[in-house]
């Protein structure tokens, strides 16, 4: 009865001597990885160099195209243009919008999952809200909550929340019905089914939605800053454009890109930690 069982997938000869073929294979895999990293860096450095040279030799007008060195100069003269302040304003607004949008959206999705009737009634409204370009609501938001940080955060929430609701609800609904049935055979209540089956089954969906969310929240914040124009990287970019200081615009865009990547990476890090051990 107690027949020996070996788990599948455990046949990598860890610790033992590797065959020559295996060593060659591993070497090749490693080399290819290095090559890709090298080329990626190469492309970036090459483009930057080309940009700089073109600007110096006058192939392009560095007044309207800026150049890497001018961007660096702008970055290093932080004190003059308060880039750090603008950066932290945008970061704060984005994170606030993200947290409210993600958690609000998640909460709404949970409530909608609880009642099939309510979610059926609300479905067309959600679809319309989702397809509506939220930026069109900008003037309304400004009138309602004032032309300040609040308006910008509301914009970020408006853009990110509905997507979260729809995505999470879709995830909850497509939970393997067999798993739910299994829990029912143990007499699980709807509450328990959610806590023990539906929610944990959708953690990967949640992380996907968070990744989309952080990007959307940033879109909302920048759009809001374009409209409200008091502080933040969005403001800086608009301002730079208006006074024809393209160095400022380019610097703003680059900081924005780095910020987006940084936030995305943070979520990926948490995701890897949480989903460790879980395999599909």
């Amino acid at each position: 009865m107690n027949h020996k069982c070996t788990p599948p997938g455990g046949n990598t000869t860890a610790g033992a001597e590797l065959s020559a073929e295996r060593r060659a294979y591993l070497r090749q895999v490693r080399r290819q990885k290095q090559e890709i990293t090298l080329w990626r860096a190469g492309v970036l450095v090459g483009l930057l160099l080309l940009w700089e040279i073109a600007a110096r030799l006058g192939w392009i007008d560095s007044f309207i195209m800026s150049s890497p060195s001018r961007i660096l100069d702008t970055l290093f003269s932080l004190a003059d243009n308060q880039i750090l302040m603008h950066f932290s304003v945008t970061l704060y607004e984005t994170l606030t919008g993200f947290v409210i949008g993600a958690f609000g959206g998640l909460l709404l999705a949970i409530l909608l999952w609880q009642s099939e009737l309510v979610s059926k009634i609300l479905e067309p409204y959600l679809v319309v809200l989702n397809s509506l370009p939220k930026i069109a609501l900008g003037p309304v938001i400004i009138i309602w909550v004032g032309a300040g940080t609040e308006a910008i955060i509301v914009m970020a929430v408006a853009i990110s929340m509905i997507v979260t609701v729809l995505e999470m609800l879709e995830g909850f609904r497509s939970t393997d019905p067999e798993l739910i049935r299994m829990a029912e055979t143990f007499g699980a209540s709807r509450q328990q089914i959610f806590r023990k089956i539906v929610f944990p089954a959708n953690i990967p969906v949640l992380f996907n939605s968070l990744k989309i969310n952080i990007g959307l929240s940033l879109v909302g914040v920048i759009a809001g800053e374009f409209l409200v124009s008091k502080a933040g990287l969005g403001y800086l970019i608009v301002y730079g454009g208006q006074v024809f200081q393209l160095d400022l615009v380019m610097t703003g865009v680059i900081i924005l890109a780095l910020m987006a990547v940084g936030m995305y990476r943070c979520i990926t890090l948490v995701e890897n930690r949480v989903l460790r051990g879980r395999r599909r």
Partner: protein, 252 residues
Amino acid sequence: MRELLTMQNVTARYQSPDGELTAAENISLTVSQGEFVSIVGPSGCGKSTLLTIMAGLKRPSEGKVLLDGEPITGPGGKIGYMLQKDNLLEWRTIYKNILLGLEIRNRLTPENIEYARGLLRTYGLWDFRDRYPSQLSGGMRQRVALIRTLAVKPEIFLLDEAFSALDYQTRLTVTDDIYSILRREGQTMVMVTHDIPESVSMSDRVVVLSGRPARIKQIHTIELGDLTPLERRDDIRFNEYSNEIWKELRES
């Protein structure tokens, strides 16, 4: 033998926008304590419906179902139900998976946990308790699912095509495995299957159903003694039983 489960004139209907469907009609069946009963029938005849009713997941449209003399009102603590898929939760370790049933029933007492741990040890899964389901073979996963159900100490086991997702080789060993475990635990079992040899190899009685709506056509008592499912397959009478049931099914 004590009568554990009784179905009296049970009829089951399903309602849908397209109309009414009678899945089973006038089913009367008694299962004694410690008995293994199989239900076979043409596919889609409503076999699983009967199990769902026994489990209390669906109420019969007519008739009564009694467990230990009391009517079944919902999926309670006395019934263990196993489905075709093992339905292990991929995000939980084997140990945590096994405690799921106790957790849902709010019965995570030290004694119950100790009992579950004992089952893990007895059935050779102790060393795998910190693994995740994806690291186990199909047969072992099915065994984990069985222990998860055993952990809540049910009085009767309902198996709904519990082996049909496994490949043939694994299925033979797993049925042997599960049969021995259930016998050893003194369990009562009702299983639904479309595999006639499987039903003959695993049960004391085989109930043959007609096509939809399912009615009881015949009940066969299998007298192959104290043999395991694999040993039964080698018995000469095994094929006779299988052929007889197969012919009956074909006529329906």
